[in-house]
Structures are given as C-alpha cells and as structure tokens.
C-alpha cells in the first residue's frame, strides 16, 4: 500500500532527487550519478540561493564596466586590497568566472531537468486519469454515503458531473476516475523553458551588441557618423562585428533646456530636447527628430539616446608671436549636476615660444559666495542656465606631455613637466573671463579670449540584438508562472458498490496536487460533486432526467 500512496502523491516533476553516492562505481555510473546530482531539485535550489548571494558583492564594490572612475578611486584608496580583489574578479562580478559558473551550472541543471520532464509531460498529457485507489476513504479529502440507487446510475451521473466540471474522466467497473489541471505542469515547463530563452536573448545582446558614447557639440558643423572612430567610448560585445553598424549620421541642430526657476529644486534642469537632423544612410533623406530623455531614436536595430549635456566655452589662444594657437569650443564637464559648475582644460601644443595649457572652472551663472558675516568666499555657479557665464582659468607652460606619443585624455592636463604661470608676488596667475573678454598673459606668452558659448550633448548609441527575444522570454515566463502558480491540478474518484444489505455505498475522494490547496476548497468541491450525485438541486435533477431520456 505504501506504493500506492507514493504513486498518488507523485508529480511528474518529482523524479529527480539527490541521492547518496553508491559504492563501487564505474566511470560511467559515476558520470550518471553526477548528472543526477546536478539536475536534482536540491542542486537547483542551492544554485539559486548561491546566485542571489553571488550578486551581492557587485552592489557594494564599484564595478569596472559600470563606473571605472569609482574603481580607480577605490584602487587608489586600497592599494593593498586591490590586487586581491583583482584576482577574485571583484571589480567585474557579473562577468567573473565564478559568477558565470553559477549561472551556467544552473542552466545546465535546468536543461537537464526540463528535457526529461517534457517527455514525462507528453506522456502524462495523453494518459488516462489513474485508477481509484482501493481505500478511497483513507485519503484525507473524502466522504461517503449510502443510497438506494443502483451503482451504475450513480457512476454514470458521476461521470457526467465531473465532465461538466471540466475534468478528464475515465470510467472503470465500480469507479470513476477524473483529473484536471494539466496546464499547471505545462505552465511550469513553459516558465523554465522561457528562463532559457531570456538567457539566450541576453547572451546574444552582450556578445553581438555594442554600446558607445560620444560628446557632440551642437550645431550643423559638428556631425557624427556611426563608425568606430567617432566614439569617445565604445564597449563592444565579445563577438561584435563592426559591419553590423548601421551607417547613419546625425548632427544636433538645436538644444533646449527647460530650467526650474522656482521651488526647492530651482535651478535643476527639467526637460531637455535635442533636435537631431539625421540620415539613415549616406546620401539618404535628412529627417529630423526631437531627442529627449525617455524618447530614444531607433534606427534599424540601433537606438540613439540623449543622456547628458553641458557647456563648451569658445576660447581663442594667441601665442607670443600673435598667431592663433588654438581656437574653438572646449568641452567642460559638469562637476555639479544642479549648478553646472564645470571643469575643463584647453591645450595649445603648437604655441610658441612655449606650449600653453589652460585649466579651470566654468560658471554658467557666476556669483561670489558669502559666509555668515557677508565676507566673500569661494566663487560658485548659482544656476544651471547661462545667465552670467564666466570662465576662470589657470595657465601652464612648458612640456604638456603631448609629444611622447602616449595617449592622453583631452579632459586632463599633464602638469608633470609643465610650470604654472605666476604673478609677480608668486601667486598663481588666474584670469576671469566673460564672453568678449581678452586677457594678456604675463611674460609675453600671448593672449586668451573668451569668444562665446557652445553647448554639447552626450549621446549614447546602443545596439542589443537579442532584446526582443529576452523580452518575449520574460513575458512567456510570466504567463507560464501564472499557470504554474494558479492552476490547481487535482484528481477525483467516485466509487459505488452494492453492499450486502442491498444499498449502495458511494465513496468520493479528492487529491489536490498543488502547493496551496485549501481544505475548504477541497471540501467544497467534494460537496458539490456529492450534491450532483444525489441530484439535490432541482435544476440538476431535471437536466439529469432529460439526459436520461435522450
């Protein structure tokens, strides 16, 4: 009888349990055993919990591919730990060997688990409901009553009633077996399969896709065309092929910001619109698009996003000979998100007699700070919009480190071999320029003028090929999940037997195979079936008699 009981409780999904390693294995048996372990339920559970655990470090330690600036700061602050962290891949958790190992094992386990279950399901879907167990009333959810009716009548009625309740019904000699809720297992399989689909979609995206950023000055003079050389930063997938890059090009013809002028967050930018003029291919028709946050432009499989903006003061440097050594807008990077106080450098390596480098701060709306006593303190920008722009610069001359061929950031001035220009009293020479101002540098170095203001936008371009596959995957997973969680598979049996005293003993039992079967629901369902069998409600009675007659 124990057999019967386990069989009753058995679900197709219960096949795989971790087992102890048997003694004296051949290699083949060992492989089989390992496979069973890997695809066991317990392993799946452990791997899931491990995956959660393994995700934690990446939320605490700065990550290379998310914020490499923070990583390098962290390295500077922890010189002793950094190499250890490096060895453990802790700056790249989500691409690390150990993180990948967990989810790859999970996937293998999943495939190994799903495939056999698919076969089991295919068989179960066609199978007839299992025969009634011998002792129906021993099941937790069961009832019985006696009646004067013939067993055949009762059983026929049971079959109709259960069919009416959308059970799959199979009649035997003295009993009727019924089952419903196969969709639960189907939903569960769909869910697990869809998890694989999601992973495939994500993998395709990260292998074949790319993401790149470029800072673009506004104006028709500055164009971008989509090829590798044009990006400031570019992160391709491992199998990325530059040939797939869509050959579009664009320029930013206009840029507008709506600033908050009152309220607690006055000074914050609220809405940005960059007007793009773009061509989907060289020589194609020029179209225009209002690029805004949350409104990317899609060209083929590639999306173009507006993710930032800032100022580029237009500066002209004339050297000691009166020649223009540098002229044009220079991108200054905001150091304050609210006031757009920005930092930037300008390099004039061709200036003579000596190279000239400028470094300083740009204030869109300049003001001197004041302390409590009203004394002037640090200068600051009080607003993000350019109401009273001022650029404040220090000057360096000598070797700017541009000649030895090592790549240098355009946003950093290499001061190792340069000297700072100072006043007669030894204080650093500083110039504060408003648009239109020109300042003459000491020592006949030349002049610097602030000619005007340009704006720039940070544009991000990305292509993630599998994203629709991934999306379809999660949607399917969700549908499967709903089936798996809310369809309630259950079996019911009705047995009717003539007793020695001539009456008929009717036994009804029910077995809920879901995780959340309510005893109340079960009792209610049994009661409904019993009511139908006893023909309690007038409607059922008349319907029954009609059926009998026909």
């Amino acid at each position: 009888m124990t057999d019967l009981r386990t069989d009753l409780q058995h679900r197709p999904s219960d096949d795989r349990q971790a087992t102890a390693l048997p003694p004296d294995l051949t290699a083949r048996e060992l492989a089989r055993w390992s496979w069973r372990q890997l695809t066991s339920m317990r392993t799946a559970l452990v791997l899931l919990l491990l995956l959660a655990l393994a995700s934690i470090p990446g939320s605490v330690i700065p990550q290379e591919n998310i914020d490499s600036l923070a990583v390098s700061q962290w390295r500077d602050n922890h010189p002793r730990l950094a190499p250890v962290w490096d060895r453990l891949d802790l700056f790249n958790v989500y691409g690390s060997v150990w993180f990948s190992a967990i989810y790859i094992l999970l996937m293998i386990s999943l495939v190994g688990c799903i495939i056999p279950r698919l076969f089991v399901y295919a068989r179960a879907a066609r199978a007839r409901p299992p025969r009634a167990p011998r002792h129906l009333t021993r099941l937790p959810e069961s009832t019985s009553y006696t009646t004067a009716e013939d067993p055949e009548v009762v059983l026929a009625r049971a079959a109709t009633a259960l069919r009416g309740k959308r059970f799959r019904v199979d009649a035997a000699d003295d009993s009727v077996a019924a089952e419903r809720g196969h969709l639960r297992e189907a939903g569960n399989l769909l869910f697990h399969l869809a998890v694989i689909v999601v992973l495939v979609g994500v993998a395709v995206g990260s292998l074949f896709g790319y993401k790149g950023g470029v800072i673009m000055l506004n104006g028709e003079d500055y164009g971008f065309s989509n090829n590798l050389t044009q990006y400031d930063d570019f992160a391709p997938g491992a199998l990325f092929d530059p040939d797939v890059m869509e050959p579009f090009s664009f320029s930013i013809t206009d840029f507008e910001v709506e600033w908050l002028t009152e309220g607690e967050r006055a000074g914050m930018a609220r809405e940005f619109v960059a007007e793009l003029a773009y061509e989907t291919e060289p020589g194609g028709e020029t179209k225009s698009y209002d690029l805004r946050v949350n409104h990317p432009l899609s060209i083929g499989g590639t999306d173009v996003f507006l993710i930032g903006h800032g100022y580029a003061p237009v500066i002209t440097i004339r050297d000691g000979d009166g020649e223009v050594a540098y002229s044009g807008p220079s991108v200054f990077l905001p150091t304050n998100a609210q006031t757009f106080e920005s930092f930037g450098v300008i390099k004039a390596p061709d200036a003579s007699p000596e190279q000239i480098g400028l470094e300083g701060t740009f204030y869109p709306t300049f003001a001197m700070g004041r302390d409590a006593e009203g004394n002037l303190t640090m200068p600051a920008s009080v607003f993000g919009d350019a109401f009273d722009p001022l650029v404040s610069l220090f000057v360096y001359t000598g070797d700017l480190g541009l000649d030895d061929g090592t790549p240098a950031s355009v946003y950093v001035l290499d001061k190792a071999k340069a000297t700072q220009v100072v006043e007669d009293d030894g204080q650093p020479f500083r110039m504060d320029l408003r648009p239109g101002d020109t300042v003459t540098l000491p020592d006949d170095l030349g002049t610097v003028s602030f000619d005007g203001l340009q704006r720039w936008n940070k544009i991000q371009v990305s292509r993630s090929p599998g994203k629709m596959v991934a999306l379809a995957g999660v949607v399917l997973a969700l549908l499967g999940l709903l089936g798996s969680l809310f369809v309630r598979p259950r079996r019911m049996w009705v047995r009717a037997r003539r007793q020695d005293d001539g009456t008929t003993l009717v036994e009804v039992a029910r077995l809920d195979r879901s995780s959340a079967g309510d005893p109340e629901d079960g009792a209610a369902e049994i009661a409904e079936v019993v009511a139908a069998l006893q023909g309690e409600t007038p409607e059922t009675k008349t319907r029954k008699t009609e059926e009998d007659e026909s």
Partner: protein, 341 residues
C-alpha cells in the same frame, strides 16, 4: 484649489489616516486583551458557573471591538487614498505620487492596508488586523518624521508612462510580500509559543498561517516579476539606453526575485513547509526592504559617486530599480570612459 492647498490637504489626510489606523489598532488591542480575559474566565468557568454570563458579555464586546477595528482600518484606507491623490494634485504639473521616499512609503503602506482589507472579503484573515495596523502606523510615522520631502515635479527621466506601470506593480508586490512576511513572522512566533491565551493563541493554526503566507507570496511573485523584469528593463532601456545595468537597485531587485523564486521552488520541489519556508520568506522580505530603504541610504557605490555635489534627495528619488539615475546622469553626464579617453 491651489497646489499648496492640495499639499496641506495631503498632509492632513496622512495624519488623519494615521490617527484612524491608530484607533483601529487600539480597538484591535482591546479585542486582544478582552479575548485574553475571556479565555481566562472560560477556564474558571469550569469551577464557577457564574462565569458563563460574563464570557458571553466579553465575547460580544470583543466581537464589536474587532469589527470596529476593521471598519476603522477600511475608513483609514479611504482617507489614505485621498491623501495620496491630493499629493499627486499638489505637484505642478499633476503627477503620480511617487517622486520620493516619503511618497513611496505612504503609497506602500496604503497598499498593505488595502490588501489586508480586500483579503478580509475573501479570506478569514481579520486576526491579522493588529499586526497590519501596527505596521502601517509605524511606517507612516517613520515616513513623516524621517523621509518627508517637498512636492517636486518629477525629473525628466521619471516622466514616463512606464513610471506608473512599473511603480504600481512594484508597490503592489511589495505590499503583498510585506503581508506575507508578517504572516511568516507570525508563523515563527506561534511555532515557538506555548501560550494558550493571548494573540498568538487566537491566530489560526500553523498550517493556515503557512498556507496564507504562501498565497501572498504566490500573488506577489508574478507581480514582482512584471515590475522588475519586464517594465523595469523596458523603462531603463528608454531612459538609460540599456535594459539592464547592474545598478545596485537592480542587483537587489534581482536578488529579491531570486530569493522568492527559491522560496517557491523550495516549497514546490523540496517540500519545504512551515519553519524553513517562513525563514526563507523573511530573508526575501529583508532583501526587499533593504533595497527599498537601505540602498538609498547606504549605497556609496559606483553610480552615485560622481554626484557628490547633488542634494541628497536626487539620489534618493524613487526607491526603485527604475531609471532614477538618469536624472542625475543628465545633469552630471559624463562617466568615467570620457575621462580616460
């Protein structure tokens, strides 16, 4: 009405709701207390026949207190809803009331109360009243004292229909998981308690607690999946240009998802019930609330490090995996790559 008036109305509404929840809580406590004395009297009754009448009186009083608790809680929820709507109308332009942690907390607690009240219609769950009202009152007080923030327009990045869908689903599932966690906590407490009187003795037996807790989680999980793995990535893709960024908020939303998946898994395949399942559910709730509160306050990592000069509110906006960062990014803009270039 002006925006300022709406804002005042909203504050008043939250206070009124909190007071109502508080009175409801008192009613529930009274019910609990009189149940205890009723139980005691019942014991005495065997010896002294006089007790019978008193028991009857006590039970009637108890029932009234219990019903009063539920009515007050429902009423408080209505006022709470009004306060939420007023909060949205106080902003210019009008918007959903999910701009900062304060607004999130008052929305989340509303959902907890709502789930409780709606559940009483279909499930026998009224005994959860004392816990739910206590939780809601405490959370509202914390929101009022610790998280209050001005009514501000949404930054551009948050200005998307996905905000509504994403946040509604996140808040609903957070509410369901929270009620589930209360039930699991109750399970563990009851499993340890041997007392035959008092609140723990009155709540249904362990099996029922376990099953109800499972139901809350089974409801919350698909909704959370929708919020975190469907609408979140769609919105992130629009605002940030990448559907998944391993931002700390996303990481923890993912961790929460995996823990609850493990919880359901453990129940369905490993046959975990009762104590083990309840512990796992509490771990899930811990990750959920850590993400909601902890990450905003403690995360110094990567994404926000360059936003030092920014008022703290900006990094706290919206306790979600949603593209909060975009608002800042647009301001500060340039990530590390450029600096290296």
């Amino acid at each position: 009405m002006t925006d300022a008036q709406w804002e005042v109305l909203s504050y008043e509404g939250v206070i009124a709701a909190a007071v109502l929840y508080f009175i409801a809580m008192l009613a529930y406590f009274f019910e609990m207390a009189s149940l205890r004395s009723a139980a005691k009297e019942e014991q005495q009754e065997q010896e002294v026949a006089v007790g019978a009448e008193m028991v009857l009186v006590a039970t009637r009083r108890t029932a009234v207190a219990g019903r009063l608790g539920l009515v007050l809680t429902s009423f408080a929820a209505v006022v709470h809803l009004v306060a939420l709507v007023a909060r949205g109308l106080a902003a210019d332009p009008n918007r959903v009331p999910w701009g900062n942690m304060y607004e999130f907390t008052i929305s989340g607690t509303f959902v907890v109360a709502l789930i409780f009240v709606l559940s009483t219609l279909r499930l026998d769950i009224e005994w959860l009243g004392p816990l739910v009202t206590t939780f809601v009152v405490a959370a509202l007080m914390a929101a009022f004292l610790g998280l209050d923030d001005a009514v501000l327009p949404l930054p551009d990045a948050l200005n998307s229909p996905w905000l509504v869908i994403h946040v509604v689903s996140a808040v609903i599932s957070t509410g369901a998981f929270t009620v589930g966690a209360l039930l699991s906590g109750l399970y563990l407490a009851k499993a340890r308690s041997t007392s035959t009187t008092g609140y723990l003795a009155r709540v249904p037996d362990l099996k029922v607690l376990d099953r109800l807790s499972y139901k809350m989680h089974a409801f919350g999980f698909p909704v959370w999946t929708f919020a975190v793995l469907i609408t979140g990535p769609i919105w992130a893709h629009q605002a940030w240009g990448a559907y998944w960024n391993w931002d700390p908020k996303e990481v923890w939303a993912f961790i929460t998802w995996v823990v609850y998946a493990a919880y359901l898994h453990a129940r369905a395949t490993a046959g975990w019930r009762g104590r083990n399942a309840a512990m796992l559910a509490l771990v899930g709730a811990a990750t959920l609330w850590f993400n909601f509160i902890g990450i905003n306050f403690f995360s110094s990592s990567s994404q926000h490090s360059y936003a030092e000069g920014v008022a703290p509110e900006t990094s706290v906006v919206v306790g979600l995996a949603g593209p909060v960062k975009a608002a800042e990014e647009v301001g500060v803009v340039v990530g590390s790559d450029d600096a290296r270039a």
